[in-house]
Amino acid sequence: GDSVTQTEGLVTLTEGLPVMLNCTYQTIYSNPFLFWYVHYLNESPRLLLKSSTDNKRTEHQGFHATLHKSSSSFHLQKSSAQLSDSALYYCALSTGGNNKLTFGQGTVLSVIP
């Protein structure tokens, strides 16, 4: 079945440094949709960005990601971390016609002064 792997459980960064959260996936489908959801403390998880287009950068709220089907990756990046970016980030995959999301284990991003 489908799977998503986020290798880092916790990433701690100093404010102003670049952010990169890793996401790789496995699926037999050739046209997957990949998503990044963000979950701030005491809020609901919400969509950050999504893509299904190979090798095209998608951006939202200062974050960006590029789907690379050749390496089955959809890493989340930001040029400069802010304290307000501290949250739990989920990479997720949707394939086929079942309208399900398969989530990774999540990565906690902690930005410190």
């Binding site: 959801y37 998880p45 919400r46 394939t95 079942n98 309208n99 399900k100």
Partner: protein
Amino acid sequence: EAAVTQSPRNKVTVTGGNVTLSCRQTNSHNYMYWYRQDTGHGLRLIHYSYGAGNLQIGDVPDGYKATRTTQEDFFLLLELASPSQTSLYFCASSDGDNQDTQYFGPGTRLLVL
């Protein structure tokens, strides 16, 4: 923006107890989902539905029942609660295509003693 509400927000029960978690969405979305969130496991799909009277099995269904009574309302039932079901439960809804955003409720924190 989609509105998804959940009740109760917090619940404490004992082992063997009977618990019902409620979810309502007011945006006429076809799909509704129940997830549990646990550290190290991320968001895991319990059950989902594509309309009133429909139920689909998710990835971690054991010990849970669900019922979709109307397009708006989706219930998660724990008939014999166990400590392993202590978790943060999220409900979500979406329109129904693979690329569609899922909108999450505020969550219900369940403690089974």
